[in-house]
């Protein structure tokens, strides 16, 4: 037993290593990336050769994790909240097949959208799939949640979600570790048809999964992650979930706080405790990070006159990340505030790095499009989304991973010309390939630009599965070889590059242009480590 300083993400990874995991599967995405990065650097994980390389995307990661669970081993799929949308198909169906070896789906939400396109709440997904969800409130609970989650998963033969949020994923604290457990031995499912979702089997499985919910509720009622602290003053009761519990305690620990508190870190909601607090208290304040998931569920719990307060009635902000001050206000406690920040302070929007290859690519695209004002540039998720900002103003859209190619295709089908898709190399292998196949099949008139900086840049420089194979893959998909053009995005190549863009825009068919130059950040790191 020792105490180490770990990020929430790292505590989860260390917990999994100590709980005898055999493989991690994931795709980088803020704020979840540091889970697998930690494992990749961990000596024990390397020695035991725990699976830790990146997957092509969250769907392949989730399916690979289900495969490892099929083999009886403990495993974890990791992703950010919007990554779960990509993995939604196997995720939802894994609740139907269930698990053999312990299966944890670790999803890191990003309320306030620090680095994301939306702030969807993954607890909705856990509820949707009818599986348990653990929502740790601190780093130590992250660590414990893995041991407990694997046991829960193996007991109920179900996948278990662990939901993290930015503030926990990226916050460091001391974590006391336990003795390491051995990995599970290879073993097949007791029921050879467990993972066979033919409709006839699915109906039987669903008939078991639905009634199982009562047992999952009971597990929540008895869970060490949930806690009921009674209090004599029943004019108000508090249900505090995950990080919401921290913000509550920050405010009330030094006060003589007499209201009942239900801390929730495991779902489905612990029915008994929720019914008790709802029955006994005149009002219940729900403090939860993310969307008003529990607040909405409470309305179905007991009829009666208990007033429910939270994000829906305006006691807490409807959107965005919570903080201790929001909670102080909701509790009617005196609030504190320093001084307003002076008006002369300017914002510093994130920007492409000095020397970034994307800058040269965007300059060439902008110039090539000068004469065709109806041309549109459909972009994607990555550092290059920053090309929207001045001085580049180079792109028109950003929807989700892979949507550059497919949106450009739809726009081209509608008659937009030139239609240009801009996608990163890692994003192309994540979910651009199938879109490009659609384009080739339909012989669309468009240009796909695959910005090859040889890394997954935005999340800090992870490697990816398709490295070194862009041309081969495009050719294999049926893009004509003479319309796969590799250029070097450097200022001195500018005129030449513009010419390539003009030629391929003029070509009536599918063109792929690959501006290739390494990310300046990963290059810097490499040079530093060589010194």
């Amino acid at each position: 037993m020792k105490k180490i300083l770990l990020l929430g993400d790292e505590a989860l990874a260390q917990g999994a290593i100590d709980a005898g995991i055999s493989g991690f599967f994931g795709y980088p995405g803020t704020p979840s990336t540091e889970i697998i990065e930690y494992v990749q650097k961990n000596k024990v994980a390397i020695e035991k050769d725990i699976h830790r390389t990146w997957a092509s995307n969250e769907k392949t990661a989730m399916e690979e994790a289900v495969g490892m669970s099929y083999a009886g081993k403990r495993t974890m799929a990791t992703m950010k909240h919007v990554g779960l949308n990509v993995a939604a198909d196997p995720f939802m169906n894994s609740a139907m097949t269930g698990a053999n070896g312990g299966l944890i789906v670790a999803v890191a939400d990003d309320p306030s959208m620090h680095s994301s396109q939306n702030e969807q709440d993954s607890r909705v997904f856990a509820n949707f799939a009818l599986i348990p969800c653990i929502e740790p409130s601190n780093q130590q609970e992250c660590y414990e949640a893995v041991f407990y989650g694997f046991e829960l998963s193996e007991k109920f033969k179900l996948p278990v979600m662990v939901r993290l949020e930015t503030r926990l994923s990226h916050s460091r604290s001391g974590v006391v570790t336990k003795e390491m457990q051995a990995e599970n031995k290879l073993s097949f499912p007791d029921d050879p048809n467990q993972f066979m979702l033919l409709p006839a089997f699915s109906r039987m499985k669903y008939d078991k999964l639905v009634p199982l919910q009562a047992q999952l509720e009971k597990a929540s009622e008895e869970s060490p992650f949930n806690k009921y602290v009674d209090g004599p003053d029943k004019t108000l009761g508090i249900i505090a979930c995950g990080l919401g519990y921290n913000y509550l305690m920050e405010n009330v620990r030094k006060l003589d706080f007499k209201h009942p508190i239900l801390k929730v870190s495991q779902y489905p909601l612990p029915r008994k405790q929720v019914e008790k607090i709802m029955k006994e208290c005149d009002q219940v304040l729900v403090i939860e990070e993310g969307m008003p998931v529990v607040e909405q569920q409470l309305k179905g719990f007991v009829s009666g006159n208990t007033k429910i307060k939270g994000r829906l009635d305006g006691s807490l902000p409807r959107v965005g990340e919570l903080n201790p001050n929001h909670v102080a206000k909701a509790l009617g406690l005196p609030n504190t505030f320093g001084e307003e920040k002076p008006d002369f302070i300017s914002n510093r929007p994130p920007a492409l790095c000095v020397g970034c290859p994307h800058i040269d690519s965007y300059k060439a695209i902008n110039e090539a499009l000068k004469e065709t004002p109806n041309g549109r540039v459909f972009s994607d998720i990555g550092c290059y989304t920053l090309g929207f900002l001045p001085p580049y103003n180079a792109i028109n859209t950003c929807l989700d991973m892979g949507a550059s190619i497919t949106m450009a295709k739809g726009a081209s089908d509608a008659g937009i010309h030139p239609a240009i898709a801009v996608i990163g190399d890692s994003t192309f292998f994540h979910s651009g390939i199938t879109g490009l196949m659609d384009c080739v099949f339909d012989k669309n008139n468009l240009v796909v630009v695959i910005l090859d900086n040889s890394t997954t840049g935005m999340t800090g420089g992870q490697d990816y599965t398709g490295f070194g194979r862009i041309e081969a893959v495009c050719k294999g998909l049926g893009v004509e070889e003479e319309h796969i053009r590799v250029i070097t995005p450097l200022p001195k190549q500018h005129q030449e590059n513009v010419q390539v863009f003009l030629e391929e825009i003029a070509y009536n068919g599918v063109s792929v242009i690959i501006p290739r130059r390494e990310c300046v950040q990963t290059l810097k790191k490499k040079l530093k480590s060589r010194r």
Binding site: P31, T33, R172, S173, N323, N335, F344, L386, G460
Partner: protein, 190 residues
């Protein structure tokens, strides 16, 4: 003892190293610690901050409540002011005077300095210049940390020990350079 510290700067200026050094001192003294960092998109030349909380009692929130920070420690002058809503009335404002200008509308330097000087507990030193003077230009962050030592509740020796602990692997020369920078900042901040 409780210290709630906002570390501020621009992505890449080394505030996480400052956090690691203070954190090490806290851990060596068996104190509780929580440190929330910024990763991801905003790191690219954007403003970054870290909430560092140290206490001899359990810490709940990863975020410091507004109006309750004991210290804003900033490696950049304008960035020190961005977090004023967090500072308590007796809090310290400690800032490096060298601006990091990567935006076209950076305010007048004097305006920024004057605002910092309205705080009775402030230190405004040119940590970049001091680091250069002692021949260790890259240790600007340790200079500014040095200036803050008097407010941290740790001795200079404790902070030096954590520098040894953290930079030890990189060799004696690096440790020495950082300690020299720390001491120079400590003197300048007196």
């Amino acid at each position: 003892m409780k210290k709630d510290i906002i570390l501020a700067g621009v992505g890449g200026q080394g505030i996480l190293t400052i956090a690691t050094v203070i954190g090490q001192a806290a851990v060596s003294s068996n104190m509780f610690l929580k440190q929330a960092e910024v990763h991801g998109m905003s790191q690219r030349g954007g403003d970054v901050q870290s909430h560092l909380r140290i206490s001899d009692q359990e810490i709940f929130s990863d975020l410091i409540p507004m109006g309750q920070a004991d210290l804003i420690l900033s490696v950049e002058p304008m960035e020190s002011l961005r977090y004023l809503p967090y500072l308590n009335e007796n809090g310290w404002l400690i800032a490096n005077a060298t601006p990091f200008v990567n935006i076209p509308n950076y305010p007048e330097k004097e305006e920024v300095y004057n605002k910092i000087k309205t705080y009775k507990n402030h230190v405004l030193i040119d940590a970049d210049a001091i680091a250069k003077e002692i021949g260790s230009a890259r240790s600007m962050n340790m200079v500014i940390l040095g200036a803050a030592v008097k407010t941290l509740g740790f001795s200079l020796e404790q902070i030096e020990n954590s520098i040894k602990e953290i930079f030890g692997k990189k060799g004696d020369a690096i440790v020495e350079a950082n300690i020299k920078a720390l001491r120079a900042g400590f003197e300048a901040g007196k």
